[in-house]
């Protein structure tokens, strides 16, 4: 470990102080990228013979009534992958043997990281099965600079604006039709850009038809296989700059947890 000098200490205090000031004066805004947990928010749907992720369910314990005269509280239940949630590497078979692959062991500094927002709004609106390409990434970088190592790559589709669960899930008899990354784009982000993880607005990080890609669910396969993370069911990505935002997204500290519902916040500077 390198000895810390006085000037560096001063400097971090100043940084944090400055951050606090900037937050207080709204020069740095905090954007909530989280969907509200409600029973009506859909969950991932798998074939019925498979194990299922629990939807969010909530039940009053008491509400200033005979069950508890002066207090209101609820019990809730859900899966690790319910609502806006975090995917840890252990979630996928490709990441099962990695070190620090579950939510309780992931280095906590990963929960605060920069984010790049790749805008695929027009493509996704034209084609719900749209798959992010390397070309999309290169176009983004041409305009906004190279995606730094250790940053989140967020795919903006405005899919979260589909408030009707049926439109959001967008099933037909051939399955789900939601946008996600193509196999090559995933490998590019993992291998060439060493991103921290991939985030999407749809129900999964992979496209609705991701099962039919090679390998099936490539984003899960490659991201988690490389120890990277996933964020899904994000919203408000349209409020983020293409680059320069900082995500704060710590999942619950669940022992050997494969993921967790969480609050995803973005710090956005006024000048970005």
């Amino acid at each position: 470990m390198t000895p810390t000098t006085n000037s560096e200490l001063m400097s971090t205090a100043a940084i944090l102080g400055g951050l606090v000031q900037a937050l207080a004066s709204n020069r740095i805004r905090v954007i909530d990228l989280t969907q509200t947990l409600t029973p009506e928010f859909p969950q991932i749907a798998l074939p019925p013979e498979m194990g299922q992720c629990w939807p969010f369910r909530i039940e009053e314990v008491s509400k200033y009534d005979e069950r508890g005269p002066s207090w209101y509280w609820n019990n809730f239940s859900c899966g690790e992958h319910t609502g806006t949630h975090f995917d840890a590497p252990i979630h996928w078979i490709s990441g099962r043997n990695l070190a620090n692959n579950s939510v309780d062991t992931i280095p906590v500094q990963h929960f605060v990281a920069p984010a790049c927002v790749i805008d695929c709004t027009s493509e996704a609106s034209a084609n719900p099965d749209y798959l992010l390409t390397i070309a999309d990434i290169e176009r983004h970088e041409a305009n906004h600079g190279r995606i730094p190592k250790g940053a989140w790559a967020l795919m903006r589709t405005d899919w979260s604006k589909r408030h009707d669960p049926e439109a959001y899930q967008n099933f037909d008899e051939t399955g789900q039709h939601t946008p996600g990354p193509g196999t090559e784009a995933v490998r590019f982000l993992v291998e060439q850009r060493e991103v921290l993880g991939f985030g999407s607005e749809a129900i999964g990080t992979d496209a609705g038809q991701g099962y039919h890609l090679r390998p099936p669910y490539p984003c899960h396969y490659y991201m988690h296989g490389a120890g990277r993370y996933g964020l899904q069911c994000l919203t408000n990505l349209d409020l983020l700059p293409p680059t320069g935002a900082v995500l704060i997204c710590p999942p619950l500290k669940i022992e050997k947890g494969s993921g967790s519902p969480l609050r995803v916040l973005a710090l956005v500077g006024q000048d970005t």
């Binding site: 029973p39 009506e40 859909p42 749907a45 013979e49 299922q52 939807p55 049926e166 099933f171």
Partner: protein, 417 residues
């Protein structure tokens, strides 16, 4: 002839909704034998095992030979009407509110003389009649004198409609329209003349076949209803609870696992969450409104139907956790029946054998066609019974179960048959 019932006029909203005053419901324990049979649609009387005498009212001993060996035997009910009367006065509130009311005295060919509620199509005494047993609004057996040959509209008889839950002109909630069974029930209800059929539609993003066909029927309205979500049940009850006359709870989760064949409890929980807790949530939200309207005119709230399973009686290990959830639901349905009885709402439990659906794909025939199950429900509503066991498998299980539940348990442990 019974005058065909006309579509009732809309209710005057400034008038107080009539409340239920039940007919006298007290019976001695031995008389409950008639109720037991009537609950399954049969008319049974005590028959002496020693001298063969048939007797009524029920007794603890044979009135002819004093034998205590009295068996309940199904009766044809043929008899001669000796006299009839029309009540124009009654000290009992239920009847006072429904006067005039016809009664008869029938000499059964089997021996006893019985007092009956008399169907309007029965002519003046002496006349041949057929006596049957029905459950009245108190849920207790009463005897009814039917005409030997009824007309097409005999079910519309005012007295008979009080004993039954005919869907005609009634508003019905079917809790799950996404299954073939649900869709068959909806079609059967529409055919039976239901006024409105609300059809529950959980997780609308999951596309299942057939829903478009039934939602195209003019009587049908799809409604969001997910029995695992208390708020969904509450919100639907708030929207339509005050209008529902019949609840048909057919929502179920059915998986084919025992204990060892499936690790964990997620499947069992999903089964319990719909099959048991779903019923509980539904009953808590829809029960009170139903009870409040049980005497509300000609299309009063009248019945609650639960799709259980013959596996509720005895566990079928290959479908072990499903069986357990249905046993729990059966137990809760008995509680519901007890709680609905003071309002005169009938709780009908269905105990079908394997239904011909994807979760019984590997069960050998005979399997119950969804349409057959649906007609059984409509028939149960029309006949006013409490428990039905549709299908050959269910009937056989029931027979074995009644004969000896322990033997059936052993048989099922060895894979059924």
């Amino acid at each position: 002839m019974t005058m065909p019932m006309m579509h009732p006029k809309r209710k005057n909203p400034v008038l107080r909704t009539q409340q239920m005053n039940l007919p006298p419901g007290a019976r001695g324990r031995v008389a409950l034998g008639i109720t037991t049979a009537a609950a399954e649609g049969r008319f049974e009387l005590q028959t002496c095992a020693d001298c063969g005498a048939v007797q009524y009212p029920p007794r603890e001993t044979c009135h002819k030979c004093l034998s205590p060996r009295l068996n309940w035997r199904e009766q044809g009910g043929e008899g001669l009407l000796l006299g009839s009367t029309t009540l124009h006065h009654s000290n009992d509130l239920f009847f006072r509110e429904r006067l005039p009311w016809q009664l008869g005295l029938v000499h059964l060919d089997a021996g006893p003389t019985v007092m009956v509620h008399l169907h309007g199509e029965v002519g003046a005494a002496p006349a041949r009649v057929r006596v049957g047993a029905r459950l009245d609004r108190a849920g207790q057996a009463v005897l009814i004198g039917f005409p030997n040959e009824g007309s097409a509209h005999m079910a519309d008889d005012k007295m008979l409609r009080e004993m039954t839950s005919d869907p005609k002109f009634r508003k019905v909630l079917v809790t799950d329209g996404k299954t073939e069974v649900g869709q068959a029930i909806v079609r059967a209800l529409v055919k039976a003349g239901a006024d409105i059929v609300w059809v529950g539609h959980a997780e609308p993003w999951k596309k299942m076949g057939g829903l478009d066909d039934i939602s195209a029927l003019p009587q049908v309205t799809l409604v969001p209803l997910d029995l695992t979500n208390g708020r969904s049940v509450t919100e639907l009850a708030g929207a339509i609870g005050g209008k529902v006359d019949i609840v048909i709870n057919n929502a179920e989760v059915h998986r084919n696992f025992g204990i060892a064949s499936r690790r964990g409890t997620d499947v069992a929980k999903a089964e319990m969450d719909i099959n048991y807790f779903g019923l509980l949530r539904l009953a808590q939200e829809f029960g009170p409104a139903l009870k409040g309207r049980s005497a509300d005119g000609a299309t009063n709230a009248t019945a609650w139907v639960n799709l259980l399973s013959i596996y509720a009686l005895s566990n079928f290990p290959p479908h072990g956790t499903f069986s357990a959830s249905k046993a729990a639901a059966h137990s809760l349905a008995q509680c519901l029946r007890a709680e609905m009885r003071p309002a005169g709402i009938r709780v009908i439990n269905l105990f079908p054998g394997p239904i011909d659906d994807e979760w019984n794909q590997q069960m050998p025939p005979p399997k119950l066609a969804p349409a057959t199950l649906a007609s059984a429900i409509v028939k149960a509503l029309r006949d006013g019974v409490e428990d039905i066991y549709p299908g050959d498998v269910a009937e056989e299980w029931l027979e074995r179960w009644r004969d000896n539940p322990k033997v059936l348990e052993r048989e099922l442990a060895h894979g059924g048959g």
